[in-house]
Amino acid sequence: MKTKRPSLKSVFVLWIPSILITLGILLPLIYLVIRAYDANIDAWSLLLKSSTIKTLGRTVWLAVWVTLFSILVALPLAWLTTRSDIPFKRMWAILTPLPLVIPSYVGAYLLVSMLGPRGMVQQWLEGSLGISRLPEIYGFPGALYILTVLSFPFILLSIRSSLQRVDPSLEEASRSLGNNAWQTFWKVIFPQLKPAILTGSLLVVLYVLRDFGAVSIMRYNTFTRVIYIQYQSSFDRSTAAILSLVLVSLTIIILIIKQVSQNRAIIERSDSKNTRPPPIIPLGKWRWPALIFCSSIVIVTLIIPGSNLIYWVLRGVQAGEKIGNLWEATQNSILASGLAAVLILIAAIPIAIISVRYPNKLSGMIERTTYLSFALPGIVVALALVFFGSNYVSALYQSLPLLLFAYLVLFLPEAVGSVKTSLQQINPNLEEAARSLGSQPFRVFQKITFPLVRPGLVAGFGLVFLTTMKELSATLILSPIGYKTLAIGVWDAVSEAFFARAAAPALLIILISSVPLALMTFRKERKY
């Protein structure tokens, strides 16, 4: 109904900053295209070389299998934790998505430190049984295993929220028409879960395509690892740029499919007005197998990696690892993530405001461009900025501001999303009421809008802080020389197979990045 023309003030306060930020996000991508365009013919023929095709094949192959295994784990888990009467249901519901807080390189490190050639199990077996070689875990199996363990919660959460919204009367209708619970699930419920499974799967695919840490530690040559090796060994920038563009094209395609499928899912769901909670189905004799299933998931994804981590921390302490380095790295990590979260949130506010309050073609375009970041792997952004920095603004090359800018490019959409959601929950009449009571627009923002979006801002801050803390590839490439963060600490130690040295920073990353998550989960429920 509203057709407010943008006032002059809003142009300066909202529109111009939004446009500038959007252009900033596009910068790395534009620069990559220019680099690739400048490349000589050799670099282009590289596109069709068998090694490139093989890399593409490996990357897709890994993404497909991780997704399939994730669905297999997530579907029963989602159903059990929403619709069954499994004992300790709430506990399973809280524990099962937790692997999301484990960064992929930490997960991979924990796997290698346990089952790898110099790992815990190997040492134990060698000592007691004299077995000197375990089956190889590097390569595809290890990458598949660790990425599945870390990313299945995307599908789990997506299916869970969809299961909670299924209209219970559809199920009742199916039962009254003579189908039993099992038939009802496959005929009525499962078809409605398809959009959720698709959305979750595409998130998993994006996770795999963008992952750098796990595939590098598992030594499986997907795009991100090959690009990094190219960058490190040859400094052949055009080749790295072209490989990056291939990867980004792939992720953009996935992102577009995800957007389209999500929009359709919303339409499919909109006609259900029923707010009754879905009925709980008793498990009967299936109770025990279900309990065993849930416990083994939690044991494999949380308890084993967790105790393994603590084992290495203790060994590190015994071996006399220096704590001093750790303290500095912690400060650096918190400083960089904190600064990034503040910066990104400030950048997100004007974009969120125009997309909620001034919906039009331009604001839609701006918002969609920010979502492009979801398609940009950290390594790609980092490389683009390294090239750009060293060529044009060498003062910024390997400086903290450039690193923060990379974080902005990578994580802006998360902040825009959470600010936007909380803005949407505010009744626009509130702002009009305040205007009619004599308040200028700025005072309205200060007295009404801001206090009401504050929880959203806090959530956005937590989210960005958490993801930035875990970020590895951009941090690795862009951080100033000598600027060690926790993530870099883990990476350096693992690269040289100092498992005990990697343990303490890994534990700290998980602990610090869990704090905002815990705060968000246990924050006092909003009364209004």
């Binding site: 057709t3 009619s436 200028q440």
Partner: protein, 350 residues
């Protein structure tokens, strides 16, 4: 000379290509309650939003008191207009207490004075002692009263109310309605009140403005609008109206249910339509019936019968709650208004 609180001249507004308001001329007298009534999409809410300053007119002029607040050159933002607004969903600030909500628009810096004013407003809307509550702790009717008190707090020259009672339970609505009217009259505040409920408009308004498709159909006192509708639309919208054809005769108007003694300056034989309200008819059992009973709505305190005439025309008539006639029975229906009936040629009233 009349003192006007609001004057709109030739007001036009469209959204995209939909023209929502067409050349609206409205004059609201100082101190009166104007009820704007019409079906949804008739432009009544847009009129309110234009006066409040939430929308900018495409064309036309709005004058509040003696200030032009909107025309081709001027556009005064809502905060400079001194207009209070009561929203359909109340729009109470959820993070502020009742007292903080009410004091939001009070300009004074003197804390003691603000407290006094808030207290007297709370008393005015009969919510003493609820100042420390939060909006979500109040009932619908209480929120409505807070929202009114908040709008009144800056002492505006004009209060705008957009369907203010539609979110309140039916049983409290009548009481709240009466209270609000009493408060507005006590303070002698000018108010514009928008509703789609004609009964509410008849009760609330000192005058009524009936709107349809962005245009003003009729403006006048409730009695005037109800009894002398200027168009078929108004007659139908104000409710309980059927139309039957009639022909001008020597004595008055001839219809298929009897002759009406009502003088109309038209040549004999002219065909017209007569608006017949439910209470203008009398039902009788008779040996010479002229209608069949199609349906009966038992309303508790009365019956409403739906009748079909031999010509096929449908009429509704009130009858006493004790008067039960079976469906399909034949009855005699007679015109017995006791006052002149509104007559139409085409859409326009005579």
């Amino acid at each position: 000379m009349q003192q006007y609180s609001v004057i709109t001249e030739n007001l036009n507004k469209s959204f995209d290509v939909d023209s929502v308001l067409k050349n609206l001329d409205l004059k609201i007298i100082k101190g009166e309650i104007m009820a704007i009534v019409g079906p949804s999409g008739c432009g009544k809410t847009t009129t309110l939003r234009l006066i409040a300053g939430f929308e900018q007119p495409d064309k036309g002029k709005i004058i509040l008191g003696d200030t032009i607040v909107a025309d081709e050159k001027t556009f005064l933002p809502p905060e400079k207009r001194g207009v209070g607004m009561v929203f359909q969903d109340f729009a109470l600030f959820p993070h502020l207490t009742v007292a903080e909500n009410i004091s939001f628009g009070i300009k004074s810096k003197d804390k003691e004075k603000i407290r006094e004013e808030v207290d007297s407003l709370l008393e005015l809307v009969a919510l003493n002692n609820l100042g420390d509550r939060f909006p979500h702790e109040l009932s619908g009717g209480q929120r409505q009263r807070v929202s009114l008190a908040r709008a009144l707090a800056p002492k505006p020259d004009l209060i705008l109310m957009d369907e203010p009672f539609s979110n309140i339970d039916a049983d409290t609505r009548l009481i709240i309605r009466e209270e609000v009217r009493k408060i507005l009259k006590k303070l002698k505040t000018t108010a514009i009140f928008v509703t789609h409920d004609q009964e509410e408009a008849l009760f609330m308004g000192d005058r009524l403005a009936v709107m349809n498709e962005g245009e003003l159909e009729q403006i006048g006192t409730p009695e005037n609008v109800f009894q002398q509708p200027k168009s078929r639309f108004v007659a139908e919208f104000m409710g309980n109206t059927d139309f039957i054809p009639g022909v001008i005769s020597k004595k008055g108007i001839k219809t298929e249910i009897g002759e009406l003694e009502q003088r109309i300056n038209l040549p004999i034989g002219t065909k017209i339509d007569i608006a017949v309200r439910f209470d203008d008819l009398k039902l009788k059992k008779s040996k010479k019936p002229n209608a069949i009973v199609l349906a009966r709505h038992f309303k508790g305190s009365m019956n409403i019968y739906r009748l079909q005439l031999p010509s096929g025309n449908i009429l509704h008539a009130y009858a006493k709650h004790t008067k039960t006639i079976e469906l399909g029975k034949f009855v005699k229906v007679k015109l017995d208004p006791g006052h002149d009936l509104a007559c139409f040629i085409g859409e326009k009233a005579l």
